[in-house]
C-alpha cells in the first residue's frame, strides 16, 4: 500500500516536473544536440546564418555545425548521410534529391535573385539588354571574359541553364571556369575585368569590395529560391532527424521568417522569406514530426 502510494507520488511528481519543464524551460536540452547543416556558400558568406542561427540555437538548445560548400556537394553530403539537413538553391536537383529518397520533403524558405555583374566600362555592352539570354549572347559575341563558378553549385547550375537557353555552348579562352566559391569568383572577375553571375546576397556583401558593377537584373529566369530538406531517417535511422525538423520548423515559422526578412547588408534586404507560399501543404505533412 505504502509502496504503491510512494510509486504513485513519484509518478505524479515526475509527470508534473515533465510537464512543468516543457513550456517553462529557457533553453531545452535535446538528446542529440549537435546538428550538422550542409549549405551553400551564399547563405554563409553573406552572413545570414551567423545572424539567424544563434537565435535558433538559443531557443532550441541545438548546436548547429555549418559546413558551407556548393549546392552539388551539399546534396551529396546529405545523400551520403554525412550531414543531417541541407539548405540549398537548385530546385531541380532538390526535387530529384527528395524523389530519390535521400530526403523527406523540400520546404521553401526564402528567395532572392541572381544578378549579372560586369566591369564598369561594360565592354560587351550588356547594360540595356532585357533578358539574361540576350546579355550572354553579347558577352559571347564580344568574347569578353566570363568567370564561371564551374563547381556544380546552385549558381553554377543556374548559369549553365542560362547559357543553354541562350543557345550558346560557352567555350574558348574568354570563358574561365574557376572552380571556386562565389566570393572568390567575384574577386577574380573583378581582377580580370570580366563578367560573372552571382546570387544577389553575396553580391550585396561584396559590393563595397569589388570594382564590378551590376549590369543586368530582373529577368524572371534569374529567380533563386532556397529550400531546406531533412536527410531521410528511413535511410539513416540514427541521423539527427529531430534536430533537422526543429530547424526546418523554426526556419518556416513566422519568427524565423521575420528574422530572415530583417537581415540586411548596407540597408538592403538580402533574402525574401517565402515559406507561406506552400504553408498549407506543409501543414499536412507535419503530424509525423509532432
Amino acid at each position: 500500500m505504502l509502496k504503491s502510494l510512494f510509486a504513485g507520488t513519484v509518478l505524479a511528481f515526475s509527470l508534473m516536473t515533465a510537464q512543468a519543464a516543457d513550456p517553462a524551460a529557457e533553453t531545452p536540452k535535446p538528446v542529440n544536440p549537435v546538428l550538422k547543416l550542409a549549405t551553400t556558400t551564399s547563405t554563409d558568406n553573406s552572413g545570414l546564418l551567423k545572424e539567424i542561427l544563434p537565435v535558433f540555437e538559443k531557443e532550441s538548445g541545438y548546436q548547429v555545425q555549418v559546413i558551407a560548400v556548393g549546392t552539388g556537394k551539399a546534396l551529396k553530403m546529405g545523400e551520403d548521410g554525412d550531414v543531417d539537413v541541407v539548405l540549398v538553391h537548385a530546385r531541380a536537383a532538390e526535387d530529384q534529391f527528395v524523389e530519390d529518397g535521400h530526403g523527406d520533403k523540400r520546404y521553401g524558405v526564402m528567395y532572392n535573385d541572381f544578378v549579372l555583374l560586369g566591369p564598369e566600362d561594360d565592354k560587351a555592352g550588356v547594360k540595356g539588354t532585357e533578358t539574361a539570354a540576350d546579355a550572354l549572347k553579347k558577352i559571347a559575341e564580344a568574347k569578353a571574359i566570363f568567370v564561371s563558378r564551374g563547381d556544380d553549385s546552385g549558381t553554377d547550375k543556374m548559369e549553365k541553364s542560362l547559357w543553354k537557353d541562350a543557345g550558346i555552348t560557352p567555350e574558348g579562352e574568354w570563358y574561365r571556369e574557376a572552380g571556386q566559391g562565389m566570393g572568390k569568383v567575384i574577386q577574380m572577375a573583378g581582377e580580370l575585368g570580366g563578367y560573372t553571375l552571382s546570387d544577389r546576397g553575396t553580391w550585396l556583401a561584396y559590393t563595397d569590395k569589388s570594382p564590378l558593377t551590376l549590369v543586368l537584373e530582373g529577368d524572371e529566369k534569374l529567380f533563386n529560391p532556397y529550400g531546406i530538406i531533412a536527410v531521410s531517417q528511413k535511410k539513416y535511422p540514427d541521423i539527427n532527424h529531430d534536430g533537422a525538423q526543429a530547424l526546418i520548423d523554426w526556419m518556416v515559422s513566422p519568427e524565423g521568417q521575420k528574422i530572415i526578412g530583417d537581415f540586411k547588408i548596407n540597408g538592403k534586404q538580402l533574402f525574401i522569406p517565402d515559406a507561406d507560399a506552400d504553408e498549407e501543404e506543409q501543414a499536412e505533412d507535419l503530424p509525423e514530426a509532432a
Binding site: 555549418v66 558551407a68 551520403d80 571556386q180 572568390k184
Partner: protein, 232 residues
C-alpha cells in the same frame, strides 16, 4: 600597396585586441596538431628504428613506400580518409567525418611518413657503434634503444619540428575532413582560405601572422638545437 598596409594594420589590431574568434581558431589549430604529433611520434620512431637497425625482407621497399607517401598531396590524403570515414565508407559507423578527431587522423596520416623518413635518415647517418657499445656495456635492448635516441636527440627534434610545421600549416586535409565548422573544426589554414575567399583580408593576414610567428619560433628552436649539436 596601401590596401596591404591597411589590412596588415587591421590584422595587428585584431591580434592584440584579443579577438576571441581569432584566438579560438588558433587554439583549435594547436590542439589538433599537437595531439596529432603526440599520437604519430611513438609509432614513427619505432618504425624508423626498425628500418634503420632491422634486417628483414622488404625493408628497402618499405623505405621507398614511406618516401613516396611523403609526396602525397594533403588533399589526396584528405580525400582518402574522407571516403573511409564517410557514412558510406568502411569506417562510417564511427561517425567521425567533420569532427576534430577526423582532422587529427588526417594530420597523423601526413605526419607519420615525414617523421619516419626524416628520423630514419637521422638514425641511418649515426654511428652504429653507439648501439653496439651500449649493448656491450650490458644495456638491454630497450636501454640501448633509448641511448641511441638520446645520442641523436637533435636530429630527431629537427624531424619533429619540421613535421609539426607541415601539419599545422596544412589546409587541404583539414578542410575536407573537418568541414571548416566555426568554433569546432575551423583552424588557422582553413580560416585563412575562407576569409580570403570572402575578401576579408585583414582576418586572413592576422592568422597568417600567427602562423609565421609560430614558424619563426620553430625555426629559432631548430637552429638552437642544431647549433648545440655541432658544438657537442
Amino acid at each position: 600597396m596601401s590596401r596591404l598596409l591597411e589590412a596588415s594594420g587591421h590584422a595587428l589590431e585584431l591580434l592584440f585586441s584579443g579577438d576571441p574568434e581569432l584566438w579560438q581558431i588558433v587554439g583549435i589549430s594547436f590542439k589538433t596538431s599537437l595531439l596529432a604529433m603526440v599520437l604519430a611520434t611513438p609509432p614513427a620512431i619505432l618504425a624508423a628504428f626498425a628500418l634503420a637497425y632491422g634486417h628483414f625482407a622488404g625493408r628497402r621497399v618499405l623505405i621507398a613506400v614511406f618516401s613516396t607517401l611523403l609526396s602525397a598531396p594533403a588533399v589526396v590524403v584528405g580525400l582518402t580518409l574522407y571516403l573511409l570515414l564517410s557514412r558510406q565508407g568502411p569506417l562510417g559507423d564511427l561517425r567521425l567525418l567533420f569532427t576534430q578527431t577526423a582532422m587529427v587522423l588526417g594530420q597523423i596520416a601526413l605526419a607519420v611518413p615525414m617523421l619516419v623518413v626524416m628520423m630514419h635518415s637521422t638514425l641511418q647517418g649515426a654511428d652504429r657503434r653507439v648501439w653496439e657499445t651500449a649493448r656491450m656495456l650490458g644495456a638491454g635492448h630497450l636501454r640501448a634503444f633509448l641511448t641511441v635516441l638520446l645520442e641523436l636527440r637533435f636530429g630527431l627534434m629537427a624531424a619533429l619540428l619540421a613535421t609539426f610545421g607541415r601539419i599545422i600549416a596544412e589546409v587541404g586535409a583539414s578542410m575536407m575532413l573537418g568541414g571548416n565548422i566555426l568554433h569546432y573544426t575551423r583552424n588557422i589554414p582553413t580560416a585563412i582560405a575562407l576569409e580570403t575567399s570572402k575578401g576579408e583580408f585583414a582576418q586572413g593576414i592576422a592568422l597568417g601572422i600567427v602562423l609565421l610567428t609560430l614558424s619563426l619560433i620553430l625555426n629559432l628552436l631548430l637552429h638552437y638545437f642544431q647549433g648545440k649539436g655541432q658544438v657537442g
